[in-house]
Symmetry: C2
Amino acid sequence: MRQAPPLLIIISGPSGAGKDSVIRRMKELGVPLHFVVTMTTRPPRPGEEDGKDYIFVSEETFEKVLREGGLLENAIVYGHRYGVPKEQVKKALESGKDVVMRIDVQGARTLRRLIPEAVFIFLIPASEEELVRRLKARSTEDEEALELRLAIAREEMKSLEEFDYVVINADGRLDEAVQKIMAIITAEKCRTKPRRISFSS
Amino acid sequence: MRQAPPLLIIISGPSGAGKDSVIRRMKELGVPLHFVVTMTTRPPRPGEEDGKDYIFVSEETFEKVLREGGLLENAIVYGHRYGVPKEQVKKALESGKDVVMRIDVQGARTLRRLIPEAVFIFLIPASEEELVRRLKARSTEDEEALELRLAIAREEMKSLEEFDYVVINADGRLDEAVQKIMAIITAEKCRTKPRRISFSS
């Protein structure tokens, strides 16, 4: 029996969908996947660890890596820069590991052009009320910033159809969302026509 | 959030792949699916219950139902007739239930033409040795019949690519195969572009 090639799983969704929570829970469960550590210029949130949750860098460092062609994709989200280290993804896939990556909706769109064979999962809250509550709970922003985030999130919700799968991440049901993502990975590994990732350097 | 439409899940594979065992285990687990009860003229195997595992009928009854257009698909497998009661499948889908159906490889091919939106799962043993052992264990046949079954099974293994998914049902790992099928169902329910079953009467 042939071995299924490694998968590249893209977890995206509007701000407040719970991408970080889902990834954190998957890590806690010790699933045998490589989680891409994104490079960012945004300051760490409480509990976030450098090199583990994100690679936190200065604007200068980010610029340097970007100039040297070291990022698979990069974007500015709410004034902060995010980038996917190319070599990290390539090496993990080459070692045969499935790779999981969290990325904003715009970034997912770019990746779909670059790597259409990836598995694109759209994470959403159960309702708009939930989305508002979550964005408010971050409470690092004033009313105006919150309104902007909400408007963008509403807009981003329309991108759903561009993804392969949609997973609802409802309040208090994080494990259900994680199980669905794991089921998607299991099912994708059973495809008779496997996706074969290839991206040029 | 829209409700995913019900799925029609076709479980097929060569004789000896363990289709019946997988279905029986799924029933034991009490998963909320409708399992199609196939009509057949073959005699019951030990432990099989009429109306539950199969609808066991005479040649005459089978012919009558077939003539009246009551079968979605029908085939002769090793001298016995098998048929899928059309109304049963339609009613279950109309009630919103996901429907699971076990069928031989030829039957699956016919159904793919009739209902391409169904989910086609190909069940296989872990190795040819396992297949031989299982067919022998049924021990209801002479050497010649066994050889014929084996030759057909080898031929059927080539149909793998026509299916959406392949699931290995290895000896002693039935639950793993069942979990993979359940994962496939979960993943299919998360698709952003749901399959919509429609079949004419």
